[in-house]
Symmetry: C2
Subunit: 134 residues, 2 copies
């Protein structure tokens, strides 16, 4: 069911500082920062040859990553995102195995403009998994 690793998301206090780490120390190509108020994050994309790292900074008062960043001042890996061909079919297959889908279980439009869902970390090896329709 799962396809490509679309991205690894790293949540940080400051995407400006994190960009400098990836650009200047690690020598990677990083995008300009982009704020996505409707998702509560400011994002920078680190472009690797085969996938992306997404650096996320909390934006606004109800950012979904605010709690994580408060607990992890140095930053940390927040989630991984796998692509699926059909997100409804993927969701239904997962639910049939007893796995928990977060929220009301209905896909939302994610930061890339495509339907996404998040899966409960306790059912997936302690890893928060985002599924994105490819």
């Amino acid at each position: 069911m799962i396809g490509r690793l679309n991205h690894v998301a790293v949540a940080v206090e400051s995407v400006e500082k994190a960009s400098a780490v990836y650009r200047d120390a690690l020598g990677a190509k990083v995008s300009a920062a982009e704020s996505l108020p409707e998702h509560g994050v400011t994002v920078v994309f680190v472009e690797l040859p085969n996938t992306k790292i997404e650096l996320l900074e909390p934006y606004g008062e109800n950012s979904p990553i605010a709690g994580f960043v408060a607990k992890n001042a140095a930053g940390g890996i927040h989630h991984v995102c796998y692509e699926v061909d059909d997100i409804i079919s993927a969701r239904d297959q997962l639910k049939a195995t007893g796995a928990r889908v977060l929220g009301d279980g209905e896909p939302r439009i994610g930061a890339h403009g495509k339907p996404v869902l998040f899966l409960h970390p306790k059912d997936f090896c302690g890893t928060l998994i985002e599924l994105e329709q490819a």
Copy 2:
């Protein structure tokens, strides 16, 4: 400097259970478990179209991931591995920026038979980074 994302490593109490999650719930192709006593882990590879997830279980009494798994009973993302063309050159460039390389700073032969180094999470957005010579 950094190239492909070689893998994301997920540390778990049991690769047998974690394999079942990735194979049966997420529908991914997983390898047979392989114990690497010299690295203190038993590993299962989850093959994605563009990269790998490595499921790691502590092996033996001095496993480098034993502490992590003791603290994260459900499992968790342990590190990410980026490929570099020349690990000595990469190390020296990183050290020149003030970044900390773990251990004695000399590359070891990693689980794939190639030279590897680990970088201090506090210098890299709270993320433990492995560099592997491509």
